[in-house]
């Protein structure tokens, strides 16, 4: 735990950290403002966090905000650092980090496809990755109703007898 | 060369089809029992062939069809050349070189139509098949040359006749044990059985040349496979196991040898094609040369 504190103190001295959290042992989450994400990530990479394990996005629909989470990992001390920031949900735009971690290219593409976050500087992120001929809003957003989409897209089987409903499985 | 010969030839073809397909059916049951399964009905092979023939099929152009027809025609012609015991459809055509080169017509016809289908898997399969042929054929032919030199004949019935007299030990298999081993290994390659069947590998290249065949083409190619198996096994039976004084004796020897080869193939994994070539040009070729030199220089076993 103390190594975690020393890292936190080191970061706190350098950057304006909004909040800190320890979701798990060997894991530390720090919240940052949107504009100094890049500087922190560059710094972290320079002090040994050479692997970008994960970039994902969390949709806080109630707060009307997308939360980008960058998880970097240091192979020497085995510590994951979650660098988190919040983006406006209406038009989520962010700068790409492909120059820092080239591997981020596909993560950004995935986030763009399923959440609609724009990453300038990474043209490929605008192409679709998993979904083929997708014609609706990005599906991982909370306001997307898969059930409705599925019923409208894929005709379901009508059952003459109401067998399922008697058992109490309300639709 | 009168009309009777051609009728005999047709009867020979029908007989070979019935005999060989049932042997294959029995062998499938034997293979199943090898894997502790019940295995299919003995006449399952017939059903498969007729089922394939009953289905509709697609074609990729005239060369796709012509290749299959030419292949089956070539192989049927080679089958006609093969003597069964004393019975021969045509007199003195069963020269070993004619048989092995006419066999190549079948191979070439199938290769042509497979490549004509435009599927790269077919071409890869064909290239492997031809490399495989280069591997197994050369040691066998070197062996045959020394036999021709020793026995002064190159016709199958001639070879068989020479071995009739002295019972089991009179067979070439026992007079030239090294040659016998080489022959069996080469037979395994000829039949395209397990260790050397990289050219019809279903998982790797979607059954190689057969990838685009369906319906009647597939049925005809099953027929081709039956006939070419008959040719290859009967060559070895004639040269190494003394042919057959009576057709029945020939059929029994044939069945035993074919089942033996199937059992061997049941337990082998599959060689990569260059491993197969390397293997053939090490062990069998060396044995063939040793056996050949023994025959030519010492004449041991020939008398």
């Amino acid at each position: 735990m103390n190594s975690m504190n020393s890292i936190y103190e080191n970061l706190k001295s350098k950057f304006n950290i909004l909040g800190v959290d320890y979701p798990d042992d060997m894991q530390m989450a720090i919240d940052l403002d949107e504009k100094d994400i890049h500087t922190v990530i560059v710094y972290l990479k320079s002090i040994g966090y050479t692997q970008l394990s994960m970039l994902t996005c969390v949709d806080w629909i109630k707060e009307g905000v997308f939360q980008l989470v960058y998880i970097v990992f240091n192979w020497d001390n085995g510590i994951h650092i979650l660098v988190r920031t919040k983006l406006d949900r209406e038009n989520p735009k962010f700068r790409t980090i492909v120059e820092i971690y080239p591997g981020a290219q596909f993560y950004e593409r995935d986030v763009h496809e399923f959440f609609g976050v724009e990453f300038e500087g990474n043209e490929i992120s605008y192409k679709n990755l998993f979904l083929e001929l997708w014609d609706d809003m990005p599906p991982m957003r909370k306001d997307f109703d898969p059930q409705k989409y599925s019923d409208e897209k894929y005709a379901a089987r009508e059952y003459k007898s109401k067998f399922i409903s008697e058992v109490g499985g309300e639709k | 060369m009168n009309i009777m010969n051609f009728i005999y030839a047709f009867l020979l073809l029908v007989f070979v089809f019935l005999f060989q397909t049932s042997i294959t059916g029995i062998n499938r049951k034997v293979m199943a029992r090898l894997q502790r399964r019940r295995g299919p009905k003995w006449y399952q092979q017939f059903i498969d062939i007729f089922k394939a023939m009953s289905k509709s099929s697609t074609t990729h152009g005239w060369i796709f069809d012509f290749g299959v027809i030419m292949a089956l025609g070539g192989i049927m012609a080679t089958t006609i050349l093969i003597p069964i015991g004393p019975f021969k459809a045509f007199a003195d055509v069963d020269n070993i070189f004619i048989v092995s080169y006419l066999l190549a017509v079948g191979m070439l016809g199938m290769a042509m139509s497979a490549s004509g289908s435009g599927n790269p898997w077919a071409s890869i399969g064909v290239s492997r098949a031809l490399t495989n042929m280069l591997a197994y054929d050369v040691p066998f032919m070197v062996l045959i040359v020394s036999f021709i030199y020793a026995f002064k004949t190159s016709s199958l019935s001639g070879f068989a006749a020479l071995q009739q007299g002295a019972g089991i030990l009179g067979w070439n298999f026992f007079r030239f044990p090294l040659g016998g081993i080489v022959a069996l290994i080469c037979l395994q390659g000829m039949l395209g059985k397990k260790p050397f069947d990289s050219f019809i590998a279903p998982a790797e290249i979607a059954s190689g040349p057969m990838v685009e065949y369906g319906g009647r083409h597939l049925g005809m190619l099953f027929l081709l496979h039956e006939f070419s198996t008959f040719i290859e096994v009967s060559i070895i039976v004639h040269i190494f196991f003394g042919g057959g004084a009576t057709p029945l004796e020939f059929m029994v020897k044939y069945a035993l040898l074919y089942t033996f080869m199937n059992i061997i193939s049941g337990v082998f994994p599959r060689f990569k094609i260059d491993q197969a070539v390397k293997f053939y040009y090490k062990v069998p070729l060396a044995l063939a040369f040793i056996q050949g030199l023994i025959i030519i220089f010492t004449g041991l076993g020939v008398s």
Binding site: L133, D136, P139 | K55, T58
Partner: protein, 190 residues
Amino acid sequence: MKIISNNSKTDKEDMRKIWEKIGDYFRANSIWMKWYCTGCGAIELPPTMTSRFDMERLGMGPMATPRQADVLLITGYLSSKTLRRIIYSYEQMQDPKYVVGFGSCTINGGIYYDSYATMKQLDNYLPVDLYIAGCMPRPEAVMNGFDTLISMIKKGEANGWKHYKENYDWYSRNQLHSLGEVYVKDEFHE
């Protein structure tokens, strides 16, 4: 469970010609599978093939390409991408061909009923001759299903492929409605 075949012909009055009967006998006793291993059901097939259940007894065996296969086994949920490939591969098979749907995902979408990616009813898109229920049927159920399929073929009832040919436009309308288009140009291959 039999398909609610919507062709009007009852199975008593047999209109097939003698030649087709013989053909059906052969086709029934030698069925080659093109199993497309889409979902979790594929793992059920090896046990049916090996020593305990040995489907070769019924004359069935795996074949590498659709051209040589008779029956297309759909063994699991079908996402829209996989469905496109299934339809393309089905059309490459030679007539007469049969489709067997394994598991509840092909019958009514199963546990993925509300997913935006998986289809909910296979026979909207392909003429399914036989469904085998179960959230992946065990080998006994599979063998039982195959047995039913064989008797259907013998009696000439497995005419899904004819049905597909006759009302192809109904099928393609469904397909286009669900998938947008079947033949796509995806970036990863060319």
